[in-house]
């Protein structure tokens, strides 16, 4: 699919848009990296930029589930939230080491996805969506009740501001710009790993499962295990994003685990466009920017976001990036 679009774009005689789209489709990781290196210097404040790439990373992880494997999960708040709580608890109680904390967050995200995946993965479609939602709610209520560990309703407070230990020296990351680049480092790392995974034979099987599960199974692939694996990878990336979010806020609110968070990541991914690398970041950027602008004007900004989301579902189900691709392909087709 992707290669085909790239070819069409390359065959078209020009137009700046075509070239941009072509470039992004061919070298998504490089383009995204370069864009986000420049990004913090052009947005009004760094905090928004940091939030955008953290949620972009979360949406990237979510997209492994929805976009690449075709599983609609309504419970990704669980992995994001578990990652956030893990980082906080590790830094507060175990060891004030940033690498260790983030590694634990990623691991726990994956581990939670492994356990909950075991319960849900055999079901598909709507059943899967409802099951993931219900189990995520279970975790929410557990965190709510387990006040000693999580702080319950008050959230997990006082996550220490640890420096970043590098071989030989440590870097203070309290400066917003430095913190931004720390997050960007993990985003790029995740992007590169994910690209490697998706281009591997395993990645091809994922797409096969999305397009036609019974057929993939009849070709000899254990599709349930393939989906489970994708779910775990998705959980790991979501856990990492959650850990970074906790580090960014120095705080984990109980609502991180609430199902509204799952809905939000779904909206972001759908808004940006499923099944591409750039889509989730566009979605996160547009969503958070709109939230930022609208919440300054009115308390009821959810009305506008909800309306935009509904219009998106009705008229642009491919999301922003998907629609751009379609538009470019159509114009390229006319010229050709």
């Amino acid at each position: 699919m992707q290669t085909q679009q790239a070819e069409v774009g390359a065959g078209a005689p020009g137009g700046a848009w075509d070239r941009v789209v072509d470039l992004v489709s061919r070298y998504p990781v490089t383009v995204i990296t370069i864009f986000f290196i420049i990004f913090p210097f052009v947005v009004p404040y760094k905090a928004l930029a940091t939030q955008i790439i953290i949620w972009g990373l979360f949406a990237l992880g979510y997209n492994v589930c929805l976009g690449y494997t075709g599983m609609l999960s309504f419970g990704h708040a669980a992995y994001f939230g578990v990652g956030a709580y893990t980082l906080g608890i590790v830094l507060i109680r175990l060891w004030e080491n940033l690498w260790f904390g983030l590694a634990c967050a990623t691991f726990m995200g994956a581990f939670t996805a492994l356990i909950l995946g075991f319960m849900c993965i055999k079901r598909k479609g709507i059943y899967f969506a409802l099951l993931t939602l219900a189990f995520a709610q279970l975790l929410y209520f557990l965190a709510f009740q387990w006040v000693d560990l999580t702080g319950g309703d008050n959230g997990l407070r006082h996550i220490p501001a640890v420096p970043l230990p590098l071989p030989g020296f440590t870097v203070d990351i309290q400066d917003p710009l430095r913190f931004y680049f720390l997050v960007l480092f993990f985003v790029v790392l995740a992007l590169m790993l994910l690209q490697r995974v998706l281009q591997s034979p395993f990645g091809r099987v994922l797409e096969a499962v999305r397009e036609n599960d019974p057929r993939a199974r009849s070709c000899g692939y254990e599709t349930t295990n393939v989906r489970w694996m994708a779910f775990i990878i998705s959980g790991a990336i979501s856990g990492l994003a959650g850990g970074l979010y906790a580090l960014y806020l120095h705080f984990v609110g109980i609502e991180t685990l609430y199902w509204v968070t799952s809905g939000q990541i779904l909206m972001i991914t759908l808004l940006g466009g499923m099944g591409s690398f750039i889509g989730p970041f566009i979605g996160a950027g547009v969503f958070l920017f709109l939230e930022d602008v609208l919440s300054a004007i009115t308390d009821n900004w959810m009305i506008f976001l909800g309306t935009i989301f509904i219009l998106c579902v009705l008229f642009f189900p491919e999301g922003i990036w998907g629609s751009v691709m379609k538009l470019v392909n159509r114009s390229a087709g006319k010229k050709g």
Partner: protein
């Protein structure tokens, strides 16, 4: 713990279960026929309660509110199906789910604008506010007795409608094979439209019935919606007997847990769900492989 406390708690659980039943029935008939998971169901329930508040404030009559709430929310459901959900038929099964998710966000915000974010007190009518005495030991609040009987009647009417009328026959046939029904010259679009309206009306009815015993605020449907999903998953998606059995079961389990170990009250229904799914993956009354 003496017997009367346990009986009282079971009774409270039964009335909670009846709310689950009403909501889950609405979800289930919509899902069974339209294959739409209505994420706005919780918000429709909330609107039912608010229409109740509005009607009682203006007219003072609970009984009028009891008619207005399902009527209003049912009409709203008809509009939603016609203009928002119908364009999505034939597309991926997930799109109506996403659309109704967005819709519920809007509905909650609209309610906040008009009614504020605080709780709205809502009292049962005087005739239903005294306790009923049974054998001199048990005192059941009359409103809850009314709620249980009324829901029972609604279930019976719904059963009669689906099993004994011609329209019900068409609806049941549509659940099995919409294409065949259409081939027999029946306009399925109108059937779907009607069923979505009925399902919404049931949500509105649950809302007004819940108003006197639970607090009325814009987010009241959010947690309720997830609980009703659990009910439909346990009962089996699209199964009406399943919705009734699972709804009552969860109401009882949840209120007994509140009595014995209150910290677990919110968690226990999810544990029940996990156990049921491990033993019977398609739910108590579900058919394997439905809509996957």
């Amino acid at each position: 713990m003496d017997l009367s406390v346990i009986v009282m708690q079971l009774f409270t659980g039964l009335s909670l279960g009846m709310l689950y039943v009403l909501l889950a029935l609405g979800l289930s008939i919509i899902f069974g026929l339209l294959t739409v998971v209505n994420f706005a169901h919780g918000a429709m329930y909330m609107w039912g309660a608010f229409i109740g508040v509005f009607t009682v404030t203006w007219t003072g009559s609970f009984w009028l509110a009891l008619i207005m709430a399902p009527l209003g929310v049912g009409m709203y459901g008809l509009i939603v199906e016609r203009w928002l959900i119908r364009p999505l038929y034939g597309r991926d099964i997930n799109y109506p789910l996403l659309l109704t998710f967005g819709l519920q966000l809007i509905m909650i915000e609209v309610t906040r604008i008009f009614f504020g974010t605080s709780d709205h007190p809502f009292n049962a009518p005087d005739i239903l506010s005294m306790p009923l005495e049974v054998m001199g030991i048990f005192y059941f609040p009359a409103y809850r007795v009314f709620l249980i009987i009324f829901t029972g009647v609604i279930c019976a009417v719904l059963w009669y409608f689906l099993e004994r009328t011609n329209l019900g026959l068409v609806i049941r046939a549509g659940t099995r094979d919409p294409l065949m029904v259409r081939a027999l010259g029946i306009d399925m679009n109108r059937i779907w439209w009607l069923v979505f309206g009925i399902g919404s009306a049931l949500a509105g009815l649950a809302g007004i019935l819940a108003a006197p015993i639970r607090s009325v605020y814009p987010e009241m449907g959010v947690a309720m919606l997830v609980e009703c999903f659990v009910v439909t998953v346990i009962g089996g998606m699209g199964s009406l007997p399943g919705a009734i059995v699972a709804g009552i079961l969860l109401g009882l389990v949840s209120s007994l847990t509140t009595l014995i170990y209150p910290q677990m009250a919110d968690i226990v229904i999810f544990l029940v769900m996990a156990v049921v799914l491990l033993v019977r993956p398609s739910g108590l009354f579900g058919k394997a492989g439905l809509l996957e």
